[in-house]
Symmetry: C2
Subunit: 410 residues, 2 copies
């Protein structure tokens, strides 16, 4: 696509174009940060309002059964299961990604008592590595072994208890070959634990088909569940009854409403629950997930790649003189749904873009990240975003107030 | 009060009567289960709507800073701090009560490595005991010692690491003497860990004034934060920097947005955070807590006791022939904000009451629980509820369909 009209024509022919109308998007904003916080699905406000006024306000305590609040971790989990190629009883929605990682790391180390190594990627998302660090205090023998992304399979050995990886790298967007790593892990006698935060809702996933053991993920990125939406947790069915929970709260009890004095884990996936489910967040997420009903994830993936390819092509052709270096895989199949470029003045450039209502984000020291959520982004948005970038660079807008400081963007 | 008119007159003179207008209550329902799920404050729907449509929908990722989402665990924590007699930087809102108990139990056991006993009450809320059970697997030396409520101080010894108690018993409403137990714990060299789930918002609390070490609590009961609202966690300031977190997630990192590879705990209370805060739940709770601004907690407590006293008196006078036994302390000062009666047919009787829109709850094997939330209940509600109970008993309504089965009520 070499002009704006071609982008508009592609949008007109896009089978996913109608899903954009399912979102409430601010006028005039080009939102390239759906990889950090997904946009607001238009059905969400009414779903929350009904839950608040009718179920909470009128139903009060009765809604735990009449509105099946108590079943939400499973009901919403079943919707996510379909998106990740899991069985109906292999996913629950609960807690945060960090807390779920903690639960599954403890469980995995207990399942492999003769092994001591958590193998991961040096560039994994920090909270994943921090949670793993916490394991070293709980399991004194535990060692965290960090290697480069390409060296995972080679680093597996008889000491490896768990391979813990984020499928899509949060900085570069590079995608791990989940099937190959699972195969290698299994051959080495290790368990796999995948963080799907940057993949679910953007990439087709088949946890069952590629023999994954454990997974977690966040729901406020491509699933559009809202800020701080509850996370999810997957345990393959064959492992479920061997899991010994660490966070032995009442929602994971075999009979929580018997109020028995002793803990007895529920059968199956439910034992991974702990406290009372956060209903407002659950309901928002449930409504947001309806957008995926009947959606062809292969088409979602194809559009995601096409948007990223277009962005890379346009940036490299129109900003060649301005010092950007592609930090993401060029090949679409090896890239998640965001594209990153390095630039020494990355922070200031991103601030200038945001000033023009083109919203991406920055990751220190030098990374500009642009996310392409295929459910609501258009090809013309990519075109326009790059035109803004050109204007920022040619006008040296990012340099106007000498604003070079690094700062925090969530 | 010996007739309905006297109750109406007392309501007319009640300084807390206007706060009832701050709630949306279903017509015709007498709600005596605010100890399980608080009613809907009328300001909450608009607060959520604004957060969803404006902050999420329009602000998108920017709202983490512009709407200070990132500061919510602390901002909402400061509101709770005022209600429990804690310092401004001693409380954060996060996760569930169960998860927070886990965090603080691990931390407490690490603070007392030479001791091995968690001392608690046999009738403590089950999730508290379940979470303590989980400690035995993490700390093989750990022993849980359960005694009757009155024997706590006598059971403290040089092995006791932590005294973990729920201040108000979820079954009987009996209140522990927090100051006396804290004093005894400190004298024995043990830490105190209080679960305030059934007290916060109903009883005046002074954690600082009575030398409490650690506390957690739920916010969906007397604080009216909504179903599954985020919980809170208190660490007295002198202990904060000695806490070694178990759930080492990024929100507890000293610089979460540096995305540094190694975990470094934040100073102060923030290190007890773990994952991304659940914003919808936070915002609902924050709006609900505004109702406590300027409220005299001594007046709240006085009304709570008066409502409970009236209920006990009316039940005993009008249902004397029907086999109820008071399970709660008769003395108001020793009772929380709910009253329980035992009855062999308790489950069926409660179902019949609920059929008349008088909503309390049932705890097996034989306990009818009636909660008196002083912010929205009237003396006349107590009168009318007892009239319904009399009608149920005199008409043997509970026996009509032979419905004696035990069942689950949250």
């Amino acid at each position: 696509m070499t002009d704006r009209a071609a982008c508009l024509a592609t949008d007109a022919a896009d089978p996913l174009a109608p899903t954009r109308d399912e979102f409430i998007l601010p006028e005039g904003v080009i939102y390239l940060d759906g990889n950090s916080l997904g946009a607001l699905p238009s059905r969400v406000p009414a779903a929350i309002e009904a839950t608040v006024r009718s179920d909470w306000g009128d139903g009060l305590i009765r809604s735990w059964t009449t509105a099946d609040w108590i079943g939400k971790p499973h009901a919403v989990g079943r919707r996510i299961a379909r998106l990740i190629g899991a069985g109906e009883t292999e996913v629950v929605v609960c807690d945060s990604t960090s807390v779920n990682l903690f639960k599954l790391l403890v469980a995995a180390l207990r399942l492999k008592p003769a092994r001591r190594v958590i193998l991961s990627e040096a560039g994994n998302f920090p909270t994943d590595l921090y949670i793993a660090e916490g394991m070293q205090r709980l399991f004194p023998e535990c060692e965290i072994r960090l290697v480069e992304a390409g060296d995972i399979a080679a680093a597996l050995d008889r000491e490896t208890a768990i391979v813990m990886l984020t499928q899509v790298n949060f900085r570069t967007g590079a995608v791990h070959d989940m099937a190959a790593i699972n195969l290698a892990a299994r051959a080495a006698g290790a368990l796999s634990l995948w963080d799907l935060s940057h993949s679910v809702g953007a990439l087709p996933l088949d946890l069952g088909g590629c023999a994954s053991d454990l997974a977690v993920g966040c729901t406020y990125k491509y699933l559009n569940g809202g800020p701080g939406a509850p996370a999810f947790l997957f345990v393959r069915s064959g492992l479920q009854d061997a899991i010994e929970p660490a966070l032995t709260g009442w929602m994971g009890h075999a009979a929580p409403f018997d109020f028995a004095p002793d803990y007895r884990p529920a059968a199956g996936i439910a034992r991974n629950l702990s406290g009372t489910p956060p209903i407002l967040g659950m309901v928002a997420l449930e409504a947001a997930l309806e957008l995926f009903d009947g959606l062809d994830m292969a088409a979602v993936r194809a559009k995601s790649i096409a948007l990223g390819d277009l962005f890379i092509d346009l940036v490299e052709r129109t900003c060649a003189a301005h010092g950007f270096t592609l930090a993401s895989p060029r090949e679409g199949a090896r890239r998640g749904s965001h594209v990153s470029f390095r630039h020494d003045d990355g922070y200031a450039i991103m601030q200038a873009l945001i000033g023009r209502d083109v919203i991406g984000d920055f990751r220190s020291p030098d990374l500009l990240r642009f996310g392409f959520a295929p459910l609501y982004l258009r090809y013309v948005d990519v075109w326009d975003a790059v035109r803004h970038l050109v204007a920022v660079m040619e006008g040296r807008e990012w340099d106007r107030d000498g604003h070079h400081a690094r700062a925090a963007v969530t």
